[in-house]
C-alpha cells in the first residue's frame, strides 16, 4: 500500500520550488482540486501561484473573482496568487517579441514576410506554450500549481519542447537563422525538461472520479507521460459518495460501484491515492474551498514550519 505523504509530494524540498500538475479527463474536478490544494499550501505559508492553462478557465468562477493573464493576488487569501494563460493575449505578446527580436537584423521585406508567417493560427499554440514555460521556470514562487487543460492537449503541450528545434526553424520563416534565439530557446527548454522529470521539483497528479472512463483515460495518459520520462506521483479520487448517506438502494448501488473502482485505481496506478468526497454543495467561494481543503488535507505536511 502506497501511503499519501503530503510533505514528499506537495511541499517544496531541498531549497527548490515545487511545481504541481493536475491532469485528467475533462470534468473530473481538476480546477476544484488544484484550487483546494493551492489554497491549503498558501494558508500553510507557502508563496503559491495557481496557473490555469484551460482555454475555458474556471478558476475565476471557483474563487468568485476575476483571474487575468497578469499574476494577481487572490483577494482574501494570504500568499496565494493566480494567473490565466489567455491564448489570444499570449499570441499578441509573442508576435511582438519575435518581431522586435528580428527588427535590427532583418530587411523590411523579410520582416513583412515574417509578420505574414506569424498570422498563422499555428502561432497561438506556440505562444501559449511559451507562456506556460515562463511560469514553469519562474522561481519567485515556492509552489506553482497548474490546473491543466484536458489530457490530450496537455500531453501535446508537454511534448513540444522535445521538438523545439523545429519550432524555432518554423518561426524563423525566411530561412535566416537567428543563432542567439535558437540557443536561448534550447537552453530554456532543456531546463524545463529536466525540471519536469525531477520528482523532487515536479509532481504529476491525476484527478479521476471512480468510474471507468476517467480511469481508462488517466491511465493511458500516465503511460504516455512515462514514455516522456515523467513519473506520476499520486491520484486524487474525486466525488466519492459518503457511504453513510447512501442508504437508498439507488445510491447504495452507485457507492458499491465506486468502491470497486477505488480498488481498481489503487491497483492500476500503484501510487498513493487521495480521496476527495462529494460535498453537499458545489465547491465555489472561499468558505467552501477552505472547508474542502481542511477536510481533504487536514495534514498538509508542513508541520507548522512556515
Amino acid at each position: 500500500m502506497n501511503m499519501f505523504q503530503p510533505e514528499k509530494i506537495l511541499l517544496p524540498s531541498n531549497g527548490y520550488s515545487r511545481v504541481l500538475f493536475f491532469a485528467g479527463k475533462g470534468g473530473v474536478g481538476k480546477t476544484t482540486v488544484s484550487s483546494v490544494v493551492a489554497l491549503r499550501l498558501a494558508e500553510c505559508g507557502y508563496r503559491t501561484l495557481l496557473v490555469t492553462t484551460d482555454p475555458a478557465a474556471h478558476i475565476g468562477e471557483v474563487f468568485e473573482q476575476p483571474v487575468t493573464d497578469e499574476i494577481q493576488p487572490v483577494i482574501g487569501v494570504k500568499n496565494l496568487f493566480a494567473v490565466r494563460i489567455d491564448p489570444k493575449a499570449a499570441t499578441e505578446e509573442y508576435k511582438k517579441s519575435i518581431l522586435e527580436d528580428a527588427r535590427p537584423r532583418y530587411s523590411a521585406e523579410m520582416l513583412a514576410a515574417l509578420a505574414e508567417e506569424l498570422e498563422s493560427p499555428c502561432t497561438e499554440e506556440i505562444a501559449a506554450f511559451d507562456k506556460f514555460s515562463q511560469f514553469l521556470t519562474d522561481e519567485t514562487f515556492q509552489v506553482t500549481v497548474f490546473d491543466t487543460a484536458p489530457t490530450g492537449h496537455t500531453l501535446r503541450l508537454l511534448q513540444l519542447p522535445f521538438d523545439y528545434s523545429k519550432q524555432v526553424s518554423l518561426m524563423v520563416a525566411t530561412g535566416q537563422e537567428s543563432v542567439g534565439l535558437k540557443d536561448k530557446t534550447k537552453a530554456r527548454f532543456e531546463a524545463m525538461i529536466s525540471k519536469l522529470r525531477d520528482p523532487a521539483r515536479t509532481t504529476f497528479g491525476f484527478v479521476v472520479y471512480p468510474e471507468s472512463t476517467p480511469i481508462v483515460e488517466a491511465h493511458r495518459a500516465k503511460l504516455d507521460l512515462e514514455k516522456a520520462g515523467i513519473p506520476t506521483q499520486f491520484v486524487v479520487a474525486n466525488q466519492v459518495l459518503p457511504v453513510e448517506r447512501c442508504s437508498h438502494p439507488f445510491f447504495k448501488k452507485r457507492s458499491e460501484m465506486q468502491k470497486r473502482y477505488l480498488a481498481q485505481i489503487v491497483e492500476k496506478f500503484d501510487v498513493p491515492m487521495l480521496e476527495m468526497p462529494l460535498f453537499e454543495q458545489e465547491v465555489i467561494g472561499l468558505p467552501r474551498l477552505r472547508q474542502a481543503a481542511r477536510t481533504v488535507l487536514s495534514d498538509c505536511g508542513c508541520r507548522g514550519v512556515n
Binding site: 479527463k25 475533462g26 470534468g27 473530473v28 480546477t31 484551460d54 482555454p55 475555458a56 474556471h58 468562477e61 471557483v62 491564448p87 513583412a112 514576410a113 505574414e116 508567417e117 498570422e119 498563422s120 493560427p121 499555428c122 497561438e124 499554440e125 506556440i126 506554450f129 487543460a149 484536458p150 489530457t151 490530450g152 492537449h153 500531453l155 501535446r156 513540444l160 521538438d163 523545429k166 519550432q167 526553424s169 518554423l170 472520479y209 468510474e211 471507468s212 472512463t213 476517467p214 481508462v216 483515460e217 493511458r220 495518459a221 459518503p242 448517506r245 447512501c246 442508504s247 437508498h248 439507488f250 445510491f251 448501488k253 452507485r254 460501484m257 453537499e280 454543495q281 458545489e282 465555489i284
Partner: protein
Amino acid sequence: MTSSRFLFFSGKGGVGKTSMAASTAVQEAEGGRKTLIVTTDPASNLADVFETEIGHRIALIPGVPNLWAMEIDPDQATTEYKEKILGPMRAVFPADVISVVEEQFNSPCTTEIAAFDRFVKFMDDPEYDLVIFDTAPTGHTIRLLELPVNWSEFIDLSAKGSGQTCLGPVQAIQESKAMYDKAIAELRNPRATTFIFVVQPEAVAIGETERSVAEIRQLGVKSIELIINAILPEEVCQDAFFRARWEMQQRHLQEIERRLVMPARRMFLLEEEIKGVEKLRRTGQMLLEGETSTPRGDHEHVSA
C-alpha cells in the same frame, strides 16, 4: 428526433457528451439511418463506451446494424494529411523543394489542422445519412471550429503575399479551401447541422455552456439544442445530504431555463454507468422520452 445530417455534441468535459452521442447514434441507426459516429478527441472514450476496438478506421459496431464509428488518431491523420499535399508535388518538384515543404509541416499545429481536415472530409461524404461528431471539450472544440474561418482568410492573404503558408504552397491547398468553405456553409445551415450542448445542473457547467453557445452562434450556427444530463430523481433523494443536492440542482435547472433558451431534453442520473450497446439502446430510448421530461423507474447512471 432530428432531420439534420450532422450532429455536433458539445459541452464542458465530463457532462456526458460521449454517452449522449453514442446513445443517439444507436437510436438513429436502429431507426434505419446509416450512421457514423466520429471523435476528434485525442483521448477518445468511444471504444470504452461501445466496449469494442475502434481506432483510426471506420469500424462497424457489433450488434447494431447501420452504425459505424471512427476515432481520428491525430498522428495518423497528420501523416495522411502531409502525404495528401506532398504526394502530387513529388511528381513535379525537385527533392530540395519537397524538403523545404516538409520542413514547414514540422509545426505543432499541423496535427491540429490534419485532424480538422479529416473531420471536414466527413462533412463532404455522401456515404452516411447521419454523421455524429462526439467533439472534444469546449475550448478546444471552439478553436477547431474557428479554424476554417481563419484558414479561409489566411489562404486568401497568403495568395496575395509570398505564396507560401505553413501548410505548404498556396496552390496545393486551394482545393482544401473549397472543402473548408463548404463545411462552413453546412455548419451554418440549420437543415444540415444541429449543435447539441450537453450540460449538467451545476454552476460552472452552465456558465461555460452559455459562453460556448454564444461563440457558436457568433460563428453563424443557427440550430442549437440542449440535453440536461445527470438530473437526480427526486424519489431517491431522501437523505438530507442528497436532498440538499437535489434542491441545488432544481435551482440550477431554473437557471438553465432562464439562461439557455433553446429546445431542451432532460436526462436523469442512472444507477450505473452507461457502457455497452444494451444500455446505450435504453438510454437512447429515455432520451427520446426526455422531451416530456418524466423520470422513469428504471435508473442507471449517465456519465461521460
